[in-house]
């Protein structure tokens, strides 16, 4: 019971981080019709920046705020230099150009921060455990991650559905030309949406930095999972991204936890030991394939434009 609950928390945590990355990806695609391979770079930059700024200021919170600002600033430069020229181009051109950006940042990071991976120690207050069950203590930071994900999901939902900015975003996604005719400042909207998406990816990187080794290329693995989320949720769909992120996070964690035992029941121990890691890393992709077979357009297909 305790174990299952702990795995559920792990799954939710992965799901929340995935959601933060995928939300920006699907938002940018929904409004600008741009697929950005460099989105994972903002996740990586967020993580590197928080390590650097936290050690500079001596405070994790100050470091996180500065890291968020720095990631957004880099994103604005990238938007101005490259992305803004890609809005009317073929998807393949967009992917290749943003792939060039990935190569650049993956090489720049070790140049600036050194080739060895960086770690970020949590202050005692945030590393301390909260007794959720009689025999289960969870570090505060992991609850912070879950809370941040919930807040962002709720905040995005309210902004997009209820505010004037949200109306601009929806109008931009539905019909950019008409929106512009009606007075929406399209270049400004695009820049803002891109910065928001990058900031969300940066936030995911900041939240995850204390939990793992910050290194070059770390954005590329989560990016692929975020793509799976975006396709499964339906391209451009925010609620689809939320549902698919949480489902994939839990599925991946459950697969890694349960597969070794399941395989051990049907295979010899040696064969199970060999097969379990290989097969458990494939679970989410097999699930994606099976789901797309039934629903090629994903959970919440976006209306065509």
């Amino acid at each position: 019971m305790t174990l299952a609950f702990e795995q559920l928390l792990n799954g939710l945590q992965l799901g929340v981080l995935l959601y933060l990355v995928a939300a920006g990806l699907t938002l940018v695609f929904g409004v600008m019709r741009v697929v950005n391979l460099a989105h994972g770079s903002f996740y990586m930059l967020g993580a590197y920046f928080v390590v650097a700024f936290a050690s500079w200021t001596g405070s994790l919170m100050a470091g996180a705020v500065l890291a968020l600002a720095a990631t957004t600033a880099v994103a604005l430069v990238v938007e101005r230099l490259v992305i803004a020229r890609l809005y009317r181009r073929e998807p393949l051109d967009q992917l290749l150009a943003t792939f060039g950006i990935v190569l650049f940042f993956d090489e720049l990071a070790p140049l600036v921060w050194g080739p060895a991976g960086l770690t970020l120690a949590l202050p005692p207050g945030l590393a301390a455990g909260v007794q959720l069950l009689p025999d289960l203590a969870v570090p505060v930071w992991r609850l912070v991650i879950l809370a941040a994900g919930g807040l962002v999901a709720a905040g995005l939902g309210i902004v997009v559905a209820r505010t004037r900015t949200g109306a601009w975003i929806r109008a931009g996604a539905a019909d950019p030309e008409t929106a512009q005719t009606l007075g929406v400042n399209l270049p400004l909207l695009f820049r803002g949406v891109f910065a928001l998406g990058a900031a969300l990816a940066g936030l995911a990187g900041i939240l995850t930095a204390p939990l793992l080794t910050v290194q070059s290329g770390m954005g590329n693995d989560i990016l692929v999972l975020a793509f799976v989320v975006v396709v499964l949720g339906g391209l451009g769909s925010m609620r689809g991204a939320l549902a698919a992120s949480l489902a994939l996070g839990i599925l991946d964690t459950a697969g890694r936890a349960a597969l070794p035992e399941l395989l051990a029941a049907v295979l010899s121990p040696e064969a199970a030991d060999t097969a379990a890691p290989a097969l458990s890393s494939m679970v989410v992709y097999v699930a994606m394939a099976a789901f797309l077979w039934a629903r090629p357009d994903g959970l919440f297909p976006a209306p065509r434009r």
């Binding site: 998807p91 290749l96 070790p110 793509f227 992709y285």
Partner: protein, 306 residues
């Protein structure tokens, strides 16, 4: 008789230069050049395989490096487990990659446009993670494979012949009814379907055939380096293959050869200055994509026509 297009002339010159290279390398005692050119030609074979779906069929796959990897691993497994020779290795490499491509195509072709790209990328990444988790085959680190060929000129010419054959086959397929249907599907799906052609079947066949060519390239990689590793299967390698095809000129028969040559030349040039050559290569790729359309093949043909 029609005059051959400048791109055809250029590819002929390039192939003739490749054919003469071993003589030059022997004369100048630069065996490294031969190793490099062999690598270039194997990459060009893989890019030719990708060109069939990406360039000719208009199906932008971002998972093809994984298919090359499936071929490479199949050849390695045959060599390690059974001690099978080059023919057996090649057979299983092509068979495994064709099967993997068939499955990848069957799933990804249910989607369109961007989703297709992302699904091929994800499925390729699945194969990458599978290979990385194969502990008996070295896991993340990869594994050495008994050398099948000792870097001799015979192997060089075998790879050369296969590249020439793959390039010729592309030219031939483009002109067959199958190739016409494939090209038509890239331009207007509805009209091809209205002509009574089973486009999904044509596309799936092309995807599987493209996997077979990539599997062959994978086996050749294993022969060439006597080493397999999952690092060659990741999505960024697939993106590099796409870049080679697009920079060369998607759909053009000679596109993959031009693109691969440009890619390898740039890589050699930049890595001569710094190990962090991606720092320059990334922005160069951005600029090339923003500035150029039609690739090198289109540029050569277009420039002389003006």
């Amino acid at each position: 008789m029609t005059r051959p297009s400048p791109a055809v002339v250029a590819v002929t010159v390039l192939l003739m230069a490749l054919a003469a290279a071993p003589l030059l390398a022997a004369a100048t005692a630069q065996p490294f050049v031969l190793f490099l050119l062999t690598r270039l030609m194997i990459l060009a074979i893989a890019a030719t395989g990708l060109n069939l779906v990406l360039g000719i069929g208009g199906m932008p796959s971002f998972g093809h490096a994984a298919l090359v990897g499936v071929g490479a691993y199949a050849a390695a497994i045959v060599a390690l487990q059974t001690g099978g020779g080059a023919w057996t290795q090649t057979f299983w490499a092509v068979a495994a990659a064709t099967l993997a491509a068939f499955a990848m195509g069957a799933i990804s072709l249910r989607t369109r446009g961007i989703a297709f790209i992302l699904v091929t990328l994800a499925l390729g990444q699945m194969l990458f993670f599978f290979a990385a988790a194969l502990e008996p085959l070295g896991g993340d680190d990869g594994i050495n494979v008994p050398a099948t060929f000792a870097g001799d000129a015979g192997f060089y010419y075998a790879v050369f012949a296969l590249l020439a054959a793959a390039t010729a086959a592309t030219a031939w397929v483009r002109a067959t009814p199958f190739g016409m249907a494939l090209r038509g599907g890239a331009v207007n799906e509805d009209r091809i379907a209205a002509a009574g052609i089973d486009l999904p079947r044509v596309r799936l066949l092309a995807f599987a055939a493209s996997g077979a060519v990539c599997g062959l390239a994978g086996a050749l990689t294993t022969f060439h380096t006597a080493f397999v590793s999952p690092a060659a299967m990741g999505w960024s390698r697939s993106a590099e293959l796409v870049a080679m095809v697009l920079v060369g000129g998607a759909g053009a028969v000679a596109g993959p050869l031009f693109g691969t040559a440009a890619f390898v030349a740039l890589e050699e040039l930049l890595s001569g200055y710094t190990t962090r050559w991606h720092l320059v290569f990334g922005p160069v790729l951005v600029i090339v994509v923003l500035a150029a359309r039609g690739g090198i093949a289109g540029w050569i043909d277009g420039r002389t026509r003006d």
